[in-house]
Amino acid sequence: MSLVGLVECKNRNVDSIKGAVSEAFRLIDYKLLKAEKIVIKPNMCYYWDWSTGQTTDPLFVAALIDLFREEISPDVKISIVESDASAMKCKYAFKYLGYEKLARDCDVDLVNLSTVEAEKVAVKVADEVFEFMVPKIIRDADLRVNVPKMKYMSFTKISAALKNIYGCNPYPRKFEYHSKLDKVIVALNKVMPFNLHVLDGLTVCGSKTLRLGLVMASRDPVAIDAAVAKIMGVNPKSVVHLRLAEKEGLGKTSFIAKGVDIDYFRRRFPRRSFSEKVIALGYRVACKLGLDKRLV
């Protein structure tokens, strides 16, 4: 079983976050090894900043950068990556979400994966073959760090580590994949495996936005997502892309939680009420039936 480290971080500042992340690494027996090129993939969603709980806090990423420079080397080359999407353009997201400032302050690169060199890679998931462009910067990195959020999502129930890698697909018209979302999420994780998953649960968005103060780490994206599902009140086995990811060998849904008791965060997480679940289901059904076209 994979290890998942859970740490509480009550203060939103670089030192506190760095301390919490170090502790999470210790809990999962993770040692930062020599690396020259590191890629960090935060979660960006539209132009909602960190205070909505929907996107990774740039301060969280700043703490990671500090830690990598202290533990690995001050000269390590760090790139923050994201790609254009149907409802988001990197040129705006980097600026509005505070990443341009972060890049200036921490001397790191911001990379729009939709505009960089990439090569076509075929991958099979559940007897279906997909082709994706894999950016060279991700392929060539010594350390690939995934920094997801934990959110509900109409089409996949939850969005966390595995779903965040969906944003590494350089193709901008991502809505075209919605009919095969579960398979595509797994396929992208197979062609772009990330070494480390550090979840920013400082501010979370469930039925409402809340300061949860959670930092989680794992080397296994399936395990960390299973832990996320548990905290959010979702049965991990009911999440199709989690089941599929496990079947495809990306990780295990069974995990050993270390650190703060998972129930402590489960009790505090603003879980969806029954009516909110019905609304999410209704929205999904409306989209499938094309009724959303009648909205304004």
């Binding site: 205070s51 505070g98 341009e100 936005t209 909110e276 609304i279 209704g282 009724l291 076209k293 909205l295």
Partner: protein
């Protein structure tokens, strides 16, 4: 009385609201719709509109068209409204009047020159709570208003869909100050200044402090300190803050105080009503403002309550607020 033949130009979010409202007005016949996107025009086609144009100039050449509702991006307001007026069409223009005072003056002047009726959309003027507040002011129950407070907090470009986790992306022009003329102060302050002028009278001086929480090139929140010719003063707070909406006015008079807050509609109920083809509560102020326009065209309503001149005064106040910034 004859029906008014109406065209709708621009089928963005508010354009769709206007279209659906017009289709429900007995005194209106929607004869044509224009939008630069063919895909978006399918929305109008699904509601039975036959004449569809990707170029609004073509729509404006229609001889049987009496009036148009223009809900294009702000940077196209002056151009489209003036062309429509020169074609002899009456114009209902979405707010804000224009990107700047100069463009606003050109539009108002074109309306006068071409002898057409011109109104600017101010849905809050038709919200029952704010209409009731106006009645209280006019009844003299508040005495002389000395102080006022206006607040308009809305999602702006951060709008979520009904299930609350999916963004509704704004078009790219929203993110370009050259095309919008301003940020939250222009978007929301415009409503507040209009309401306060309606209740209190003309503004004599205004200052603003602008906030830039989201790293835009334009303000995402603002506080205005406003003085009125009658001696009253007001504080106006506006901002785009995620999901929560707060729209209200408080008036403090020499004899009494009154407040009016407009509670937002449930997005879920709105979505369900739209799918079922019903009119959601959110649409009603928009329906009433367009009804007023149409009734005025048909001589059924004696006073132009949404005049271009009035909108120009609002724009002048906003322009002064941008100029007199508190650093």
């Amino acid at each position: 009385m004859e029906k008014i033949n109406l065209g709708v130009i621009g089928l963005g979010f508010i354009g769709k609201v206007h279209l659906r409202n017009c289709l429900n007005l007995k005194s209106v016949r929607v004869v044509a719709v224009a939008d630069s996107s063919k895909k978006v025009l399918n929305y109008a086609k699904a509601f039975g509109v036959k004449r569809l144009f990707t170029d609004y100039h073509e729509l404006l050449k229609l001889k049987d068209l009496d009036a148009v509702i223009i809900s294009l991006p702000t940077y196209l307001h002056a151009e489209s409204a003036i062309i429509a007026m020169e074609e002899g069409k009456h114009v209902f223009l979405e707010k804000p009047l224009a990107r700047n005072v100069e463009e606003g003056r050109e539009i108002v002047s074109a309306a006068g020159k071409n002898g057409v009726i011109f109104m600017v959309g101010y849905p809050l003027r038709f919200v029952p709570e704010f209409v009731d507040l106006k009645s209280q002011v006019e009844s003299g129950a508040l005495g002389d208003i000395q102080m006022a407070y206006g607040v308009d907090i809305a999602a702006g470009p951060f709008f979520h869909r009904a299930e609350s986790t999916t963004p509704r992306p704004v078009p790219e022009w929203w993110l370009n100050i050259e095309l919008t003329g301003g940020g939250a102060l222009m978007d929301l302050g415009y409503h507040m200044i209009n309401l306060l002028r309606w209740y209190i009278g003309e503004v004599s001086a205004v200052k603003a402090r602008l906030g830039y929480r989201f790293n835009f090139d334009f303000e995402d929140y603002a506080t205005c300190i406003t003085d009125f010719e009658c001696g009253a003063s007001a504080v106006v707070n506006v901002g785009w803050f995620s999901q929560s909406a707060a729209v209200g006015i408080e008036l403090h008079g020499t004899m009494a105080h009154a407040r009016a807050y407009h509670s937002p509609s449930s997005k879920v109920i709105t979505a369900v009503k739209l799918i079922l083809g019903r009119t959601p509560r959110f649409f009603i102020p928009y329906l009433k403002e367009v009804s007023h326009f149409v009734d005025y065209l048909r001589d059924d309503d004696g006073e132009n309550r949404l005049s271009g001149e009035d909108a120009l005064k609002d724009l002048e106040v906003i322009a002064k607020a941008y100029k007199n910034q508190i650093k």
